[in-house]
Amino acid sequence: MDISIYLLLAISVVLFSLTSLLFFSVIIIRFRHRRWTKKVKQYKKDLLPPVLEYLEEGGDISNLEKYFHNDKSEYYAFVKIVTNLLSQLEGPDADRLQELLYLDPIFDHYYKLLNSRNDIDRVKACIYFSHVRLVNYKVIKKLEEFLNSSNMMLVFSAATALMGSEDVKIRAEALNSVAKMKGISDMALLELFHKFHSGEDDQLESEGEVLKEVISNPSITPENRALLILGVAERGYYNMVEFLLDKLKKPIEIWDNPDVLHALIKAQGEFYNVSSVDTIRQYLTHEHPKVVIAAIEELSDYGSEKDLTTYHTLLTHADNEVRQAAVFALINNDQNESQILSGVPDDLKEEIRNIILKFKTEKNDQ
């Protein structure tokens, strides 16, 4: 036979074997998964009653340890039960339930994963520790180590877990580490920021204090700083109002950035801080359109009649979004179409009319 036929025959045999191997792998994986699911289902069936009994009648949590037989699927099933219940409970019941996650076999298992060299195992451990109240010093130390990792997933999951700490400084450090990261998305940072708040209103003040440091960190990108400022205002850290207003009054170095200034102005509006009006007014002539727009938007709500002249002047601004914001501000302050159009150069009148129409449509739409 020709050599090419031998070659093709060999390839055919290899491919046939590979096809069979893949097919049988699929079947084996399916069987293994079924067995695992069955096992987890059984564990859940066995473990749920004692968990509920513990919740209803109390008792020593170590009694639950006898249900474990050093099997990963048991731990998985147990954590799943507890976290599912946790998502439906609040207050003291939730606290007592959280204690269950500290059962020795479970804790030891995840602590081992935390100390593993494999990032995937570490992430699994971080996800587990994000459900528990973080009090163990060794765990916290390990999680803080992960904040310096180059693996963004590990950093984020470690930071998320650290948000379970009662120590506001630890939480701030975690937030700081993520905010410094290049390439972190605004949504991820926002998610972490909302986890930063402990849920206890009496912590708002201390949280506000440490947030001042986080936001002032020069290593944070302007975009992330701006996002944190907006988050602070939305969450209602009122002890930061004056701090942020000061930065707006004297925007030097890291604060002198269009994104940051825009956020600082918006934050004052969100805080309903009427005393910031004069400061914001200075930004109507700022060189960056984004800053001017923020100033117009806030003054449109909290400004006075004397700003109307400025809005009229801004109708001829070089940037069309500034012109649009000025039109919206004038309508918002009860100026009618002819009042708005008076003094507008002829070549801009058509555009301004369209903006007025757009505003009305949006208003009706709302």
């Binding site: 020709d2 036929i5 893949l22 949504m187 998610e191 988050g231 009305k360």
Partner: protein, 531 residues
């Protein structure tokens, strides 16, 4: 007869020097596929392992996250429209709106919507940054404040989507087909792409086949394989295309396609590039390529992502003619996109896109059918003339079939390791069987459709082609109503499928006889019958 043989022999002689082209192309294509499979296999596992990292909880307490507008263009969709919109309104997400764009339907689509949702007219937006056919009216529903219906002059899907983008008031726009079924948590899952990375401008999710599934109130209750041959074959195709094609390209940061049936885009980015293109039949791919080109040329950091976890279920055609038209249109769309963005091809300025993705789509996906058609014809003629060693031919065919199977089964394996949507072992066995069967007959027909699509593109055909929607779950009932003539039509396709199967069988028997593994049945038959 001798004359025909002489002509064919001449053709074979003429093609002889190019035989290495076919073999080289075959190796190149399959090597590329194998590389994509390997990448996807590991990447999908990695994604699964990190899946729980970004769980969205706090974000929904904020007004600073990105809300979504779902754009559902509808043209003569009266069969499905109400159930489809009702299901969209039940999605689990904090802040979203549903915009149905009635693209000049000639049936009852609009009236059904008006009656069912008690729609009332609102002002038509005046600020329309993207160009499209005129909007006649815009409606809102007092029952669902998040529902808007746009009634516009017919202008095809791309035009309808542009109108939807103009009307939308959210940061992200999600384009779907009117008959797409989104899983309730699909938006939350898709949003993870925007969390994982900064600068995401588009994200696609996996499209799965709804034919055969048990569907109630436009929600997939039980997953099963389609009943028909074509449905099952397409299930294998879709798994392969999404679980190793798109996952692989996503890993390489070079994803060029986000399915028109399901994709989320950053509204600002889409508006910046001018929205969907009107005069193309491949508007989904064209938009993604244009986004890539735009941001590459601007030098801005951006990304286009594919996530295999969020699922959109869609009805696929189960008739040969409709499927043929669809594939023809896909090929024309591909060719059109390649032509419009030819500047990117092999252009290092566009990085991996120019040097990897574009050449792949140009040489393998676009020109592939041309080479394959010539290959098939050459193969048949050579076989007819028996000028070739039959063992070689059979082995070459075997290698080609097994390679196809390895690729398809790897996607089934990826599915099994990650999502396990197909619940029974019977499903797995069927998928494996059809991974084999698709190589015999269907693949050749599919190549012909794509080849014809390319020719039609060169002829300037920009027709969408009529897609017959039976309505998911209605296929069986409809089938019974079909006329006899409609049943006879696909006979030609079945002839090719069975013909190819017979040819392969004859080849196997021939080889077995050659090697004296079985008696020479051909001689026995001829001696007994006298033929």
């Amino acid at each position: 007869m001798n004359e025909i043989r002489a002509i064919l022999q001449e053709f074979v002689n003429f093609m002889e020097p190019t035989s290495w082209l076919f073999i080289g192309y075959f190796l190149f294509v399959n090597l590329t596929y194998i590389l994509l499979v390997i990448i996807s296999f590991f990447y999908i596992r990695q994604q699964q392992n990190y899946y729980q990292v970004f769980n969205l909880k706090g974000l929904f307490n904020s007004d600073l996250y990105r809300p979504v507008s779902i754009l559902s263009p509808a043209y003569n969709e009266q069969v499905n429209i109400i159930a489809s919109v009702e299901a969209l309104l039940q999605l689990h997400f904090s802040d979203f709106e549903v915009i149905v764009i009635n693209d000049g339907s000639t049936d009852n689509t609009l009236q059904l919507l008006i009656d069912h949702f008690e729609l009332y007219e609102i002002d038509t937006p005046s600020d329309l940054p993207i160009d499209h056919k005129p909007i006649k009216k815009v409606y809102r529903s007092p029952i669902y404040s998040e529902l808007k219906v746009v009634d516009k002059v017919n202008g095809r899907k791309a035009d309808a989507l542009n109108a939807g983008i103009n009307v939308s008031r959210k940061d992200l726009v999600c384009s779907i087909d009117a008959d797409s079924i989104l899983e309730p948590d699909v938006l939350v899952k898709l949003l993870k792409a925007f969390m994982e990375e900064e600068g995401v401008v588009a994200v696609g999710g996996i499209v799965r086949i709804a034919n055969g599934c048990k569907i109630e109130d436009n929600i997939v209750k039980k997953v099963d394989l389609p009943k028909s041959y074509l449905g099952k074959i397409q299930t294998v195709e879709y798994l392969r295309s999404f679980l190793f094609g798109r996952v692989g390209w996503d890993y390489l940061d070079s994803l060029l396609i986000i399915s028109g049936a399901f994709g989320v885009f950053d509204k600002k980015a889409v508006t910046e590039v001018g929205g969907y293109l009107h005069d193309t039949v491949g508007e989904d791919m064209e938009l993604v390529v244009r986004l890539h080109r735009h941001f590459k040329e601007k030098g801005e950091k951006y990304s286009v992502r594919f996530l295999p976890e969020p699922v959109c279920w869609t009805e696929v055609p189960e008739s040969w003619s409709v499927l043929g038209k669809q594939r023809n249109r896909w090929q024309r769309g591909l060719a059109d996109t390649m032509w419009r963005h030819k500047k990117m091809l092999l252009n290092p300025k566009y990085g991996r896109l120019g040097m990897l993705a574009m050449p792949y789509f140009f040489f393998i996906e676009m020109l592939g059918p041309v080479i394959e058609i010539f290959g098939f014809v050459y193969f048949l003629i050579v076989l007819f003339l028996a000028g070739f060693n039959s063992s070689f031919v059979l082995l070459f065919l075997t290698v080609s079939v097994f390679l196809g199977m390895v690729l398809s089964i790897t996607s089934v394996l990826c599915e099994e390791l990650s999502f396990r949507r197909y619940p029974t072992l019977g499903n797995i066995a069927y998928l494996t069987l059809y991974a084999f069967l698709e190589n015999i007959g269907y693949r050749q027909i599919h190549t012909w459709w794509r080849f014809k699509g390319l020719i039609d593109y060169l002829k300037g055909d920009k027709e969408w082609g009529k897609m017959v929607r039976l309505g998911i779950g209605n296929s069986q009932t409809q089938k019974q109503k079909n006329k006899i003539i409609d049943r006879i039509k696909p006979a030609g396709y079945w002839f090719v499928v069975f013909g190819t199967g017979l040819l392969v069988l004859l080849l196997v028997v021939h080889v077995l006889i050659d090697h004296s593994l079985i008696p020479d049945i051909f001689s026995i038959i001829s001696s007994k019958t006298g033929f």
